[in-house]
Structures are given as C-alpha cells and as structure tokens.
Symmetry: C2
Subunit: 278 residues, 2 copies
Amino acid sequence: MIHINGQSKRAMNLVDKYNTRAAAVDSLLCIGLDSDFARLPEEFIHYEFPLFIFNRWIIEQTHEYASAYKMNMAFYEARGDRGISSLRMTMEYLQQEHPDIPTICDAKRADVPSTSEAYARAVFDWFGFDAVTLNPYLGKDALQPFLKRADKGCIILCRTSNPGAGEIQDLPVNGTPLWQVVAETVYKDWNTNQNCMLVVGATYPEELKQVRQMVGDMTLLVPGLGTQGGDVAQTVRAGLREDGSGLILNASRSVIFSESPAQAARQLRDEINRYRTA
Amino acid sequence: MIHINGQSKRAMNLVDKYNTRAAAVDSLLCIGLDSDFARLPEEFIHYEFPLFIFNRWIIEQTHEYASAYKMNMAFYEARGDRGISSLRMTMEYLQQEHPDIPTICDAKRADVPSTSEAYARAVFDWFGFDAVTLNPYLGKDALQPFLKRADKGCIILCRTSNPGAGEIQDLPVNGTPLWQVVAETVYKDWNTNQNCMLVVGATYPEELKQVRQMVGDMTLLVPGLGTQGGDVAQTVRAGLREDGSGLILNASRSVIFSESPAQAARQLRDEINRYRTA
C-alpha cells in the first residue's frame, strides 16, 4: 500500500488500490470497456452474453498493461437485462482473475439522497465496483450516499471531454468558471473521506493543468484519449503529479476496437510512460 | 390531441400525450414507481420478480387517477438484472393495458455524445419510455441524442428537490442563479423540437413560480410532493399555467407505500384539483 502525503490514516480505498496497481504494472492506462454491441467483431455477436465474452477477451489481451478498467453503464443498459448480466459477469471475472485491478463504474450518477442510496447499492454492492463517476449539479447532500463510502472512490465530473462541455461548465461564477468552482468545492468540502477524485477531459489540457494546480495531490480521471482526440504528451505534462502519478488516463474505443487490443494497450501505456519521465 | 399555443405543427410527443391523458382523467398527478425492495410489503417479496408484481398491483390500484407514471431507474438497478427485467415487464404491462398513460424514466442521464446515444437507445428503445430526465451539466451537445428524438420528452433538471440543491444550482452567473440560466438556455436554445420540459422541485415553490414566469407554456415536472415535504397548494399556485395545466406533479413513496394506494392517489389528485380551480 502506497501512502499519499498526509493521507496515511484513512481506510484503504480506490486511490491506494490504484497506486499499488499502477506501480506494479508501470502503467497509468485505464482501459474503457465501452463494449457497444453494434461495434463488436462478428465472432462475438452470436453468444448469449456477447458483451461478457468480448470483455473477457479484451481483459485477457490487455490486463498486463491496465492500471484500471472503466465500464460505461450506457453500453450495458442499451442491451437490457442481458447487458446488465454481462456487466456483472465481467465484474465477477475480474474479481476472480484480477482482484488487484481497480474497477470504475462510469455512470455519472446524481439524484436526491434517498435515490442515490439505491444507486450506491447498485454500483458498489450489487456490481461490486471500486469507484463511480458522479455529476455535481445536485450538490453534496445528493452525493452523500456515495461520499460516505470511505472504502470506495467518488469521481466527480469537473470538465468533461465533449466539444460542448463549456456551455454550462464555463459559465462565470463571480468571474470564475463553474468547473473551477466545482474543483475547489470538491477539494475543500466534499473530500472529507479522502475518497474524491475529479474528471477532466484529455481534450482540454489547459484546464487539466489548472485543475492540477488547484487540487494538489488529488488523483484525476482523464477520459478522451484516442478516438476523442486527446493528445498524450499534452495530457501527461498537464496533469501529472510531481511523483509521476496521480492520473487515471482512459482510452476506450481506440484500444478495444483496434485490430490488436494487446498491441494498442501496450503502445499507449509505453507512450504515456515516455512523457512521465521526460 | 390537444394543441398547445404555437406548437401544433410538430410531431405528437410526450407533451401531447400527457395533456390528453391529464384531460381524460382530470388529473395532474404522476405516480412515482420508486419501488424500493426494502420497503415492499411482505406479500410481494417472495416472487421471482417482486418489483414487477408490486408495480402491477400499484397500477391496478391507481391508474384511474394517474396522469403519468415515473419510474426511477435506481431502485431497479439496485436489484441487478432481475430489477431491470422487472422494469421492462412493468413497461410491457403498461403498454398493453394502459397505452394512453405516459411513462417517464427518471434516470437523470448525461454523458458525452456517443455514450448518450447508447443511453437513449436503452431508455427509449429497449424499455420504450415516452420521456427521460436529463442533467444539464455537460451541455446541449451531450444531450443531442435525446433532444433529437422529437417524438420523446426530454426533461432537464433545473432546480432539484433535495435540501442542498442550492449549493451548485444557486451559484451566481453574472448575478443570475445557475438554475435560472439553465431554465433560460433550455427554453431558448435546447427546445428546437418542442420536446423539452424542466424539473423543478415542489420543495422550492418560489423558484417554481419564477420558472413558470420565465418559460411560458413549457410543461414542468415537479417531484417532491408527499414524503419530501412539498406543499400541494403552494406548488399548484406557483406552477400552474393559465389554462390550468402544464404541470406533472409527482408523488412516489406517499402513494405507493401508503396503506391504500388507491385512496392516497385519489385524495392527492382531488387535492391538486381543488387548487387548480381556486
């Protein structure tokens, strides 16, 4: 277990698990299992649970380069109850074969407190994820059922990777963009259990640099490498902590739908590492 | 089909379906099927699909007073694949027995565009809902896969019903609270297909009144009556349109977990109607 500055007294949570795993495989690459049925190779689509069979193959191909796996709920919900079963089977497979690899549920949830309780049960207890992505719009009380789980990770949307992210997130709050207010609020007030992280898209390296300056050692989840166009060198330089870690760098489609997922994962892991030491 | 002022040229969507239904049963009461397994009466819990059996019973008891049904995804996800199956079975039951009652998926979704496409498929196509609740934080481009579905309803969070809603939603954007900026943005820019609505909690009647003044004839989904403490008289007076409609007034726990759901639904429907004509 790696102790982050000033955080050594808390329970083991996703941050520790992530740092341990990242060090063990020398990787900051999180692989996004965004297993869109419409894009699966032909050989997988005739199974009863095609998303699971595909995921298992991707994990077999890529696990030695993976610091974490991130599953976006949308692609499983789009396949109904069998999609949900596939996601659960993927989680069971990971827990059995690779219990040291952290799992992130990319669900971007937020609801009133009694409902967030149910979502937290779904994500952390029924599926067994180590962490979940959350939307800040409803405020801290709405997210409390997640935040109170000190053994789990709560990854709050700050600056998302989509082209139109700025429409709401750049709105000036007393002269400060909303996304910066969110970053500061999470850092100063929501992180009581030292289990918060922030989402900042790789498509916005300047904002990533500013978030890193604002939140000290906090770990950042950075989606948008690969298909969405985020640049590896810029991203690593903008977001890396002084200790060479502190980033969960996610690529999804560019790895899992490439000709060779193993090769794509290894190359991206290595490319990231080149800029960690540069 | 009822034509709303200036909106008669578009495709039939949730707004029309809702107005037709509301007129037919003289009700603005939406019943929230927030069927938390832990709160189900003992007689339901031993079935293979207890949430469906419970929902079917609630629908049998309450349909003649219901202008719509709203299902919160969290309570189904918390029960895993069988929960998802129960929700789908509930939808199939409603489509078969009560196709004229609008169905709202309370999921508060928002993700990058390619992912929102998958969520839209899940909610509108696999489950078959008429409408979905959405979170505005990621901006219009992120919600486009929902917004472009002119035959469906997109209900954007504006002012939520939780006690801490103001933490982010009240932040001043050039002196205007964020929730007002969201209301204006949806009204002026996101509603191209005339299929947008807004969520404003019954626990904030003053804000509800202001939203009504800002968005003209737009239909508003108002959760938070009943257990959350929203006052019926204040809510109806604050949010009603001049034509006596324009509100989807949701109660969940106070109806479905009452001693007599039929009686609770009828009483609340009647109480709402008293203030519609007063």
